[in-house]
């Protein structure tokens, strides 16, 4: 089942989305249990964002043809923090589910940081602050061809410290790239602590608006609200690029990890993961 692009969805579909998000949260824990080299906390803050994008009828894609010309492009700039995409892409048929049992293993395609050798990934991620600029070029190219396809970019808030993002932010509004959609996984924590204590992003929405972007915000763990906000954002024109700041918790749902200063590099013990999986079953 996939939800249609209609703006309003039924109660049953909302419940289905919530269950899907719960399932992806659990599968992400499972991947991390087998491959502790993966970044768990950054990936758990983005679960609902990707569930809404891929199951909520927001993105147009064809798992059998990952590079289908008529797809919407989804650039996952916070590559390290998208391990939750592994179960999603496998579930949708981008690659065989057997890959999930050999994450970070020789011969597999799913690394500690995803690369575009994985069907469904568009660009090279991992080094932060690159995705938005490349996505901007893609949106410019699509506009030049008269294409109606959208480009989505998912960044963290920490990587917005990279100045190249702001070069792209200026460029995108100048060129009125209205099919460009930025989703910020605003979990508020980068590697060494909370971004507000490092270099603050206070007033991020106002900053983006001042750069000529159309902006909104949403509870990034309410998958139904997220899905609604993403559908509305995608539909908007008005000659402006658009941003949605999703307020999230890094390490969402894992005691001892969630919103901790150093959660980026923390690995919960296998017993804790097993207990969480059991409790949420």
């Amino acid at each position: 089942m996939l939800i249609s692009e209609n703006e309003a969805i039924l109660e049953g579909e909302q419940e289905w989305l919530r269950r899907k998000a719960r399932w992806v949260w659990r599968e992400t824990l499972r991947v991390h249990r087998h491959a502790p080299e993966t970044r768990l906390a950054s990936s758990l803050s983005a679960v609902e964002i990707f569930v809404a994008l891929y199951y909520g009828g927001v993105l147009r894609f064809d798992a059998a043809q990952p590079r289908w010309q008529e797809r919407d492009r989804c650039i996952i700039s916070k590559g390290h923090g998208s391990i939750c995409m592994y179960p999603i892409l496998a579930d949708l048929g981008f690659f065989a589910a057997a890959e999930l049992s050999r994450v970070c293993q020789a011969g597999g395609i799913l690394g500690g940081i995803p690369d575009p050798v994985i069907p469904g990934y568009e660009t090279v991620n991992g080094s932060l602050g690159h995705g938005l600029g490349v996505a901007t070029g893609m949106a410019l190219g699509l506009k030049g061809r008269g294409s109606e396809r959208s480009v989505f970019v998912v960044t963290g808030d920490g990587e917005l410290h990279e100045g190249a993002n702001w070069e792209a932010i200026m460029f995108a509004s100048h060129h009125g790239l209205e099919h460009l959609n930025l989703v910020v996984d605003n979990n508020g924590v980068s590697m060494l602590g909370h971004t507000e204590d490092i270099v603050s992003h206070d007033g991020l929405l106002d900053r983006l608006r001042a750069f000529g972007w159309d902006c909104g915000q949403v509870d990034g763990h309410d998958v139904v609200a997220l899905r609604q906000a993403l559908v509305q954002m995608k539909a908007k024109g008005q000659g402006k690029p658009k941003a949605l700041v999703a307020h999230t918790r890094k390490g969402n749902g894992v005691p001892g990890l969630e919103d901790e200063d150093l959660c980026h590099v923390m690995n919960p013990k296998a017993e804790l993961i097993d207990r969480l999986l059991q409790e949420s079953a």
Binding site: G137, M138, G141, L142, G144, E167, M170
Partner: protein, 321 residues
């Protein structure tokens, strides 16, 4: 037949402009750097031209995005800025990405070596060959005249992948008056004979030709090779051309001993089993802020005609001895 010398950038952009009329997949990006021909490109093809502003990181990223969407991209800026300001963007979004997705991005850097003579070391460029060589799947072209620069349009359009074109900012004499050199070969033998061959690139080909002419006037022959494709030259053909020589002299307008043409030739000779002796002529020392003509600056750092000729003379004696 005489060909009037012109700036390399205009010679190449003239051809890009012509190609844009036929090929709607060509896109031109610049980091706020121009030329008279560029004014024509942006006037005639505003829908396939983007000035990203003084923002080289975004120049590379936007160009990569356009290329992913199927455009053949020419990205244009001053040489040190398009190679060094955005080196990691080149590495990640061109070199790495091109291993997975077919992209065609051609970086045109203007200002090789000391060619921005009075602008000082920010605008001069003595490290770019080293840095771009470090990216194993980036092609590097270093033409010595505008005829070669113009001919580079063909490989730029025909071959996918990232490429770097290192263009001189000054008008250099024409060394290919009748036809462009064989680009597939990657080098051109201007003079044969003697026991020593000068292997030069870019501006230094002119210095090598002058030095060889002076030695020839004294009855001492030298070979001269213009190596304009730094990475993908025909190795077998170059091996064949260099095999008769007892000594090889590299000449580059970049730091000596820091991974440029000299390092490339050491590696080449070792791999090919050639045991000729080597002399490397490149920029000695480090950064300088002195003003002067290009030839004065070159003499100060050991790559001027006089300095090079002295070194070559000593090397000839050493090899003969």
């Amino acid at each position: 037949m005489s060909v009037r010398p012109m700036p390399m950038r205009d010679a190449l952009l003239e051809r890009v402009c012509g190609a844009m009329a036929q090929d709607r997949a060509i896109y031109f990006t610049t980091a706020d750097f121009g030329s008279p021909v560029l004014d024509r490109i942006r006037g005639q093809y505003p829908d396939r031209f983007a000035n990203v502003g003084i923002a080289e990181q975004n120049l590379i990223n936007v160009s990569a995005g356009l290329a992913v969407e199927g455009y053949k991209v020419f990205a244009y800026a001053i040489a040190p800025f398009i190679t060094m300001r955005c080196f990691e963007q080149i590495r990640v979004n061109l070199a790495l990405l091109s291993k997975v997705r077919s992209i065609n991005v051609n970086l045109i850097g203007v200002g090789a070596g000391y060619s921005y003579v009075v602008s000082g070391p920010t605008h001069q460029c003595y490290e770019d060959l080293t840095l771009m060589r470090a990216l194993p799947n980036v092609a590097i072209y270093s033409p010595a005249d505008h005829v070669t620069a113009a001919a580079l349009l063909e490989p730029c359009l025909a071959q996918a992948g990232p490429k770097y074109l290192r263009l001189d900012a000054q008008v250099l004499p024409v060394i290919y008056p009748t036809q462009a050199p064989d680009l597939a070969r990657g080098f051109h033998v201007h003079r044969g004979g003697g026991r020593i061959c000068l292997v030069a690139t870019g501006f230094m080909v002119h210095t090598a030709l002058k030095a060889a002419q002076e030695f020839a006037a004294q009855g001492r022959a030298l070979g001269v090779i213009d190596l304009f494709d730094i990475c993908r030259f025909d190795a077998g053909a170059l091996r064949h051309a260099l095999a008769p020589y007892a000594g090889i002299v590299t000449l580059e307008e970049g730091f000596r001993g820091r991974g440029g043409l000299d390092a490339m030739m050491f590696d080449f000779m070792a791999h090919q089993g050639l045991d000729a002796r080597m002399l490397n002529i490149g920029v000695e020392g480090d950064y300088r802020f002195e003003l002067g003509t290009r030839s004065q600056l070159h003499e100060q750092v050991g790559i001027g005609l006089d300095a090079a000729s002295r070194g070559i003379g000593r090397f000839m004696q050493a090899v003969a001895g």
